[in-house]
Symmetry: C2
Subunit: 266 residues, 2 copies
C-alpha cells in the first residue's frame, strides 16, 4: 500500500496575517506523515514594489512580471515569505526546507510566450517534467519541503509561477509514489454557492456541476483558476482534492473530519 | 582516505558585478567533487534598504539588524542573491540547492546579546552545534549547497550572520567527514603586504606572522575578521585554508595551481 502524502497550498490572505499564519503553521506542523507546503505570494510583493516605485499590473489575477518585478518576487516569495515560514516551522520541530523550482532543478518551466499580452518572466510548468522521485527523496529522508511560487527556465533565469498551479503539478508528479491528498487552504470555508454566506459550502463538486456553476456565474474570478488547477489534479489521478478554510486543516488531517469542498469524479 | 570537500566563500564585490559573478559561477560549476558555496551580501541590501527609506548602520563591518533590516536581508540574501545564484548554477548543470541556516535546521544560532552596542537580529553560531553529517547528507546525494548568510534561533526568528563566519563554521563541522579546503574568494589577489600593490601577495601566513602584521598595521579593517575566521578553521583542523582572487578559483581547484595566501600552522 502506498503511503499518504498531504500537499497543502496556503493562500495569500493567510500569509498576510501573522496571527493566522502562525496558527496555521502550528496546525500544519502536527500533521503526521510526509507533507509538502506550497505558499502563495500575498500582498507583500505588491507593497514592496510600490515602496520601490514599481507599478503592479495584474491581469486576471496574474502579475505581469517584468525584470524589476521578477527581482521583487524573488526577494519576497523566495526570501522573505519562504524563509520566515521555514524558521517558524523549525520552531515547531517540523523539519522544513525552503525550496523554489530552481533548487535541485525540481520544477523546470518555460517562459510564457508573449501573445496579445506579455506576462514577462512568467513560467509555465512543462507537463510531465517534474520528477516525482526527486521530491520523494526529500520526503523519505524526513524533510518537509516548503515551496515558494518560483520556477526557473534552466537557462539561468527564475520565473514567477502561480502557487495553485505548482501545488497541482507537484501532486500529479507525486501521485505515482504516494496516495496524494491535495488541499487548497484559504480564508473561506470552501467553494460557496452564495459568496455572502460562509455556510453555503458546496460539499461535493463534480466537473459537470462546476461547469454549470461557472456558466450561471455562481463561481467567479479567482476561484476559477484554482478550481481548474484542482480538477486537473483530480483528473490526473490525485486521490483526494479539497478546498477548505486554513483553520480547518487540523480538523481534517489530524482529526479526520470532513470539511470544505471535495472535488469528485462524475 | 577521506574525500576532499571544497568550501568556497564568495564575497560581496563579486556578487555586485554580474559579469564577474557569472564568470565565477562558471568556474565554480567545473570544480569536481563535493563542494559548498557560501555567499556574502553585497551592496544590494544597503541599496534596497535605502530605497525603502531605511538607514543602514554598519559597525566594524557588521550591519546593525533591526526588525525592518532583518526583513530586507532575508529578502535580499535568502531570496534575490541566493536563488539567482542557484538558477545560474543550474544553467551550468551544477545541482545547486539554496539554503539558509534555518532550512533543515542546518545552522542554529543565538541572537547576540546587546552589550554597549545592540546588533539586533545578529546571530552567533553556537560552537559545535552544526551537525556535519546533516550537510554531508546533501553532498553525498549529489547536491551543491549554496548558503546565504542567514541563520535562525530555532524559536521562529531568522538571524543575520556573517558569511565568513558561516564558511569557517561549516568547514570545521565537516572536517571530520572530509579532507576540507576552505577558500575565501574576493576581488583581491590574496592578503597583500602593500594594499596598493596587487602583486605583493603574502604567499604563506602563519598565526605569528599575522599577529605581527596586524600589530604593525599592514593588515587592517575587513581583512581582520576574515583572517580571524580563517585561522579559527585552520586551528580547528581544516586541512587547507586560502584567501585568493575569485578569478583564480579555476586555476587552483581545477588545474591545481598555487594561488593567493595560504594559511599555515606555525
Amino acid at each position: 500500500m502506498k503511503k499518504t502524502l498531504n500537499l497543502i497550498k496556503i493562500g495569500g490572505n493567510i500569509i498576510d496575517n501573522e496571527t493566522k499564519l502562525n496558527q496555521f503553521l502550528q496546525e500544519f506542523s502536527r500533521i503526521p506523515g510526509p507533507k509538502i507546503l506550497i505558499h502563495g505570494g500575498g500582498k507583500t510583493a505588491t507593497e514592496i514594489s510600490g515602496n520601490l516605485g514599481l507599478e503592479t499590473t495584474m491581469v486576471n489575477g496574474l502579475r505581469i512580471t517584468d525584470a524589476e518585478t521578477l527581482r521583487v518576487v524573488t526577494m519576497v516569495y523566495g526570501g522573505l515569505i519562504n524563509k520566515n515560514i521555514v524558521a517558524k516551522l523549525q520552531a515547531e520541530d517540523c523539519n522544513a526546507i525552503g525550496l523554489t523550482g530552481a533548487d535541485a532543478n525540481l520544477i523546470p518551466a518555460a517562459k510564457r510566450a508573449a501573445g496579445k499580452l506579455d506576462f514577462g518572466y512568467a513560467g509555465d510548468i512543462i507537463p510531465g517534467v517534474i520528477r516525482g522521485e526527486k521530491i520523494a527523496f526529500f520526503l523519505e529522508n524526513g524533510f518537509v519541503p516548503v515551496f515558494a511560487p518560483l520556477t526557473h527556465d534552466k537557462a539561468g533565469s527564475l520565473l514567477n509561477t502561480n502557487a495553485d498551479t505548482i501545488a497541482s503539478a507537484l501532486a500529479i508528479a507525486l501521485s505515482e509514489q504516494y496516495e496524494t491528498k491535495l488541499i487548497y487552504c484559504f480564508e473561506k470555508n470552501g467553494v460557496l454557492s452564495d459568496l455572502e454566506n460562509e455556510e453555503s459550502i458546496i460539499e461535493e463538486l463534480t466537473m459537470e456541476k462546476y461547469r454549470a456553476l461557472k456558466h450561471e456565474g455562481t463561481i467567479v474570478k479567482g476561484m476559477l483558476p484554482k478550481l481548474d488547477n484542482a480538477f486537473k489534479a483530480l483528473l490526473a489521478g490525485v486521490n483526494f482534492v479539497v478546498i477548505c478554510h486554513a483553520e480547518a486543516i487540523g480538523n481534517m488531517l489530524v482529526q479526520d473530519k470532513k470539511t470544505g469542498t471535495e472535488l469528485v469524479n462524475n
